[in-house]
């Protein structure tokens, strides 16, 4: 209960040990203790930070085993029956294994299910390509009625989980798996669809999102100098006004994400800029390829130039 107690006092998560997914799980349990409609829908990955929920509320911890189509469909049915399900599984399984159940059962019917996806991006590291989710945002963004949120750290993940619940409509939370450096040092009401300027600058706008990536981008920005950094946790609906205002002022935009450059945050940014503020754009992310080399997460980020030095290098190469 230490972490929960800390949270209620507005204290920090321990960034060395707390993952965004764990924070999301804590929020789910807090919400469940306040609202008996909340249930946790599982597909045999409950031991990923779900044990506290299972111990506290065993009757509302609903495991469907290794059967995502059934779990997603049943989550929709539970929502239609008046429950408020959180669906907890790996991002790749929820959005791709059971994509059509997400599309039809949840999104078409606007069933208020919050899909909490862990192991997103290449955070699975050593687990290999079957566990990477590098296309999940592209899939999620294309689905009508689905809000897509990629929090920057555990604190924001907690707040975004509460906001997703209050939203009362389908939401996909993209939560990584590794603990990452903290970006936000205090809890605040998370507003869906609103980006946050983390650093002001005039020469370039960097739009980013996600655990580990946002802090790496902030480090890169320190070295780059007069650069604006926007945390854009809600990828859909994206904060168009903020993006257009910043791009119009700086005249150049870079997007950075731990996702394929096809269909993710960079594509969402490109869509807005092309129609509303056509300025040069550079999309930094994962290549259009499966990641076959396994490795330590930090090492993988370095290899794909998504760490601070890599982002700095890519930005300098582009603007020079």
């Amino acid at each position: 209960m230490t972490a929960l107690a800390d949270l209620r006092e507005g204290l920090r998560f321990d960034p060395a040990t707390t993952t965004a997914f764990e924070a999301c799980r804590m929020a789910q349990l807090d919400l469940a203790l306040q609202d008996d409609r909340v249930v946790s829908v599982e597909a045999d990955l409950g031991d990923c930070w779900g044990l506290k929920f299972r111990e506290s509320l065993p009757d509302r911890f609903l495991d469907f085993g290794i059967a995502e189509a059934s779990a997603v469909g049943a989550a929709a049915g539970l929502a239609m029956g008046g429950k408020r399900p959180f669906l907890n599984t790996f991002g790749t399984f929820a959005l791709m294994r059971a994509a059509e159940q997400v599309r039809l059962d949840i999104c078409y019917h606007r069933a208020p299910v919050v899909i909490a996806g862990m192991f997103t991006g290449i955070a699975a590291g050593f687990s290999g390509p079957t566990h990477h989710a590098i296309e999940d945002v592209a899939v999620a963004r294309a689905l009508p009625n689905l809000t897509v949120i990629s929090p920057a750290d555990a604190v924001q993940a907690y707040d975004a989980t509460c906001a997703a619940f209050a939203h009362n409509a389908p939401v996909y939370l993209r939560l990584g798996v590794e603990p990452g450096p903290q970006v936000y040092d205090a809890h605040e009401p998370f507003e869906i669809g609103r980006g946050r300027v983390l650093r002001h600058g005039d020469r370039l706008t960097v739009v980013t999102c996600g655990v580990t990536i946002v802090p790496e981008v902030l480090k890169a920005a320190e070295r780059l100098g007069d650069v604006e950094v926007i945390d854009m946790p809600t990828i859909k609906p994206i904060d168009r006004d903020l993006l257009v205002r910043s791009a119009s002022r700086t005249g150049r935009v870079v997007s950075v994400e731990e996702h394929s450059t096809i269909g993710g945050l960079g594509s969402a940014v490109a869509e807005v800029l092309a129609e509303h503020a056509p300025v040069p754009l550079r999309r930094i992310g994962l290549p259009d390829a499966y990641v076959k080399e396994i490795g330590d997460y930090a090492e993988q980020l370095r290899a794909f130039e998504l760490d601070a030095a890599g982002v700095e290098r890519q930005v300098r190469a582009w603007v020079s």
Partner: protein
């Protein structure tokens, strides 16, 4: 009562003929085979639903998972009073809400269906919600037999037995024929009832065109306490029309004026 139900069934079949003739086409075979199942559910006092208040909390839920057989489903909903019978004439016409596959914009439709294998998992969730809240509502899911080739059906079948959902009933329209041919030639389902039993369901096989037999079973639910119920309704694809029975040729099709006339004669005259 059985005679009344038989008359209801005949009325639904006539509607299906009209819908298949006065639109680009309809899934005639699966609509004709499911008629008595729908008739018994809606007109024999099985389903606790209120056409005047389709979203009433605590109602029974019917998920029509074999959504392609919408012609029969819409006919049943209209005759039950969920929307005017005259609206059936708009079937698959521009601007109509009566699409080839049902969606929740139509009163009485609980789930948009047509992509097969979705109804039972959602039904499991609905049944779990009702069970958790100790509501009297029951969940009925009508599936096609070919649909049971979808893995999601068996994932959900496992979950239903695991969670002891005795408020959940699946009714399989076992007409034996899917789009490409007989189920046993395309992808064999037998021993079909044994599969449901092995998955932990209280399973019964009935003549799916005998409203008396259907009625007896549907008024005795659950068949076994703390087990979900599977009713394998043995039916005839295209039932009621000489040219459409037991063939996949009328899985889907448009009835010409001549065939419409013949069909209505075989069913005892115009609707």
């Amino acid at each position: 009562m059985v005679n009344d139900l038989a008359e209801r069934a005949r009325t639904l079949r006539k509607h299906v003929v009209h819908l298949a003739a006065d639109s680009p086409g309809a899934h005639v075979g699966g609509s004709m085979s499911v008629v008595e199942i729908l008739t018994t559910l809606y007109f024999d006092g099985v389903l606790r639903v209120d056409p005047a208040d389709p979203d009433r909390p605590g109602r029974d839920r019917l998920i029509f998972s074999k959504g392609h057989s919408s012609a029969a489903y819409y006919a049943a909903l209209a005759e039950a009073g969920f929307f005017p019978v005259s609206e059936l004439d708009t079937y698959k016409k521009t601007g109509s809400r009566l699409a080839g596959h049902p969606h929740t914009g139509v009163p009485g439709v609980e789930l948009a269906t047509g992509s097969l294998g979705h109804g039972l998992p959602v039904g499991v969730g609905l049944a779990m919600a009702a069970q958790a809240d100790a509501l009297p509502s029951r969940v009925f899911v009508i599936v096609g037999d070919g649909e049971c080739q979808e893995g999601s059906v068996w994932e959900a079948a496992m979950a239903a037995a695991h969670y002891r959902l005795d408020n959940l009933v699946v009714i399989v329209d076992r007409n034996g024929i899917q789009e490409d041919g007989p189920t046993e030639e395309i992808m064999a389902l037998e021993p079909f009832a044994d599969k449901w039993r092995a998955f932990g369901w209280a399973t019964v096989e009935v003549d799916g065109h005998d409203v008396g037999e259907l009625s007896n079973v549907l008024h005795e639910l659950p068949l076994t306490w703390s087990r979900p119920t599977a009713i394998i309704a043995k039916t005839v694809k295209g039932k009621g029309l000489s040219f459409s029975e037991n063939t996949n040729a009328w899985h889907y099709g448009h009835l010409s004026a001549d065939l419409k006339e013949q069909a209505l004669q075989e069913l005892g005259g115009a609707r």
